[in-house]
């Protein structure tokens, strides 16, 4: 049990290396950074923006304590680019931003997918378009998948609690290292600014994944292909003595540009796609309750999952409505086959989102033959109240 400031050791003498195990009371932004440090974060390239600045500020305070580097850049484009350099040099790297900055980072996300560069970007979503507003939102969930140019599959997680901000950040780094790809944490203002209890397990209980390196596979420097060998190619660091040719143009396994070779490019794109979408069942997670007896279903993600759970508990207990609950923990790759395995046949599927109905599209695509209708429950700039969800559910199921 510790409520002491993170900067102090338990005996109050000096900076703690990593957060102590046990129970803490932290803000989502702080939990995110503490999780990142445990995952091995070494470089944070930052540019401030409401409501993501607290992540940057905490990273700036904490990274020097663990021998990491914090750098504030001149804009979000260069902030994202610092992660690429840091990652190629072997360091785990992250940044956090919000809608307008996330737009500026799209080119680097696409570049990192193509160059298979592990890095983590947190989008603390606020309402748009433009500079929009500074409250909470889930309006960038489609941008996460389709905002960057080209056929680039992505991994994106949707946290709903302070514990998630900690756990999912560690998971994001692990996924990023495992699949050699950028990973997005689609947080919201609500969860970034929320304070609640955080349980930190003993360090030896926390799984931390390191990228596969050619040295681990016994590949000699002269035989190394930065985009070859396997579905997920091993990644050598600059300075390891391996020739590394990183290129985001169409390339051969050895990294040489594949000019006028569409077959080579197609092969590469298929592999990038197989790596993420082909492993959707391994990568993506959902959580569910009351699926056994449900006549209707509520599907949600992020903080809305909490409001959703509150509303369906009340719908079941007070109004006798047999409604189930499913939370998309992973937004992308979209867990289509997982959903089809879990959901057999229901009446109405309700999809509350803090946008005008975005994830309801892949949900509809996945389950259109498993339900009578999909009903979007939109909200702009604020969490739905449980009453609002309940009212819509009761109106539709006529109870």
């Amino acid at each position: 049990m510790s409520g002491a400031p993170l900067e102090k050791k338990q005996d109050g003498t000096g900076p703690a290396a990593l957060i102590s195990s046990g129970r803490h009371y932290l803000e989502g932004s702080e939990a995110c950074v503490e999780g990142a440090l445990i995952a091995g974060l070494k470089v944070y390239g930052g540019y401030p923006i409401t409501p993501a600045s607290e992540i940057m500020e905490h990273a700036a305070r904490r990274l020097p304590m663990v021998g990491g580097r914090f750098i504030q850049m001149e804009d979000e484009i260069s902030a994202a680019c610092t992660l690429v350099g840091a990652s190629w040099a072997g360091g785990k790297a992250m940044t956090a931003t919000s809608g307008p900055g996330f737009s500026l980072m799209q080119e680097t996300i696409s570049f990192s997918i193509m160059t298979e560069t592990p890095l983590v970007i947190v989008d603390v979503q606020r309402p748009g378009p433009g500079q929009g507003y500074i409250t909470t939102s889930q309006e960038d969930v489609m941008q996460a998948r389709w905002g960057h140019h080209g056929e680039g599959p992505i991994i994106a997680l949707a946290p709903s609690s302070v514990q998630d901000m900690f756990d999912f950040t560690i998971e994001a780094f692990n996924l990023s290292e495992t699949w050699r790809t950028p990973v997005l944490i689609m947080a919201e203002e609500t969860v970034a600014h929320m304070r609640e209890g955080l349980f930190v397990p003993d360090l030896d209980q926390i799984k931390v994944v390191l990228r596969k390196k050619p040295q681990d596979l016994g590949i000699a420097p002269q035989d190394y292909q930065p985009y070859g060998h396997d579905l997920v190619p091993p990644l050598a660091d600059f300075g390891d003595g391996y020739n590394i040719n990183h290129v985001s143009l169409a390339h051969h396994p050895d990294g040489n540009v594949a000019n006028y070779n569409l077959d080579m490019h197609r092969k590469n794109i298929d592999r990038l796609h197989d790596k993420i979408e082909g492993n959707a069942d391994v990568i993506a997670r959902t959580e569910s309750r009351f699926l056994e007896d449900c006549e209707h279903l509520l599907i949600c993600y992020g903080t809305v999952a909490r409001t959703g759970l509150e509303a369906i508990m009340e719908a079941r207990e007070t109004h006798g409505i047999k409604i189930g609950f499913l939370r998309l923990v992973t937004l992308w790759p979209f867990p289509q086959s997982l959903l089809r395995k879990r959901i057999k046949k229901v009446g109405t599927i309700f999809v509350p989102e803090m946008n005008l109905g975005m994830m309801m599209h892949p949900i509809t695509e996945a389950l259109r033959d498993r339900c009578d209708q999909v009903v979007s429950i939109p909200s702009i700039g604020a969490l739905h109240s449980p009453e609002a969800l309940l009212e819509k559910i009761r109106e539709v199921v006529k109870c």
Binding site: I134, H193, R306
Partner: protein, 186 residues
Amino acid sequence: MSDSTRFEIRIAGFGGQGVVTIGKVLGQAFTIHEGLNSVNTRSYGPESRGGACRSEVVVSRSEIYYPGVRNADILVALSQTALDAYISDLKDGGILLIDPNAVKKVPKGVCFYEVPAMEIAHELGSVKYQNAVALGALAAILNSRIKKESLAQAIAENVPPKTIEKNIAAFEKGWAHVGAALSLVI
């Protein structure tokens, strides 16, 4: 409501009154020192001083789903604007705490306590201590729900070390002020 142990506190006022810190201290006291679940959320306008500002704490023995206030058990209003905005969400039988120098009009039939937080803080040397005074008053109101020591400890953990003594003095004054009205042993 399915969770009978759910208890909701809303603190509202202007930026600069320490509204966010009150919520943080309460949440930390409930979770770290009392072993309960609590969620603290906050919202404010783009201004760092003077804009409307709100902090909420939801406490429960069970897992907390919806993180915001649905019907507040306690409303702390540090400005008339805040009172006017949130009084309708106060539960029937809920308790209101106001600074009488900032809030002049309270609707009839609402049970309320007064603590001149700004004035007391000023006497202690800085208006910065007004949130500690309000926390002391809250400690008296929350007497059956949280130990006074838990709140005092959480204050000490959240203020600059040099100001702990003054903050605790402010906390005690707030507690004594409302404690007297509640006939708590002082």
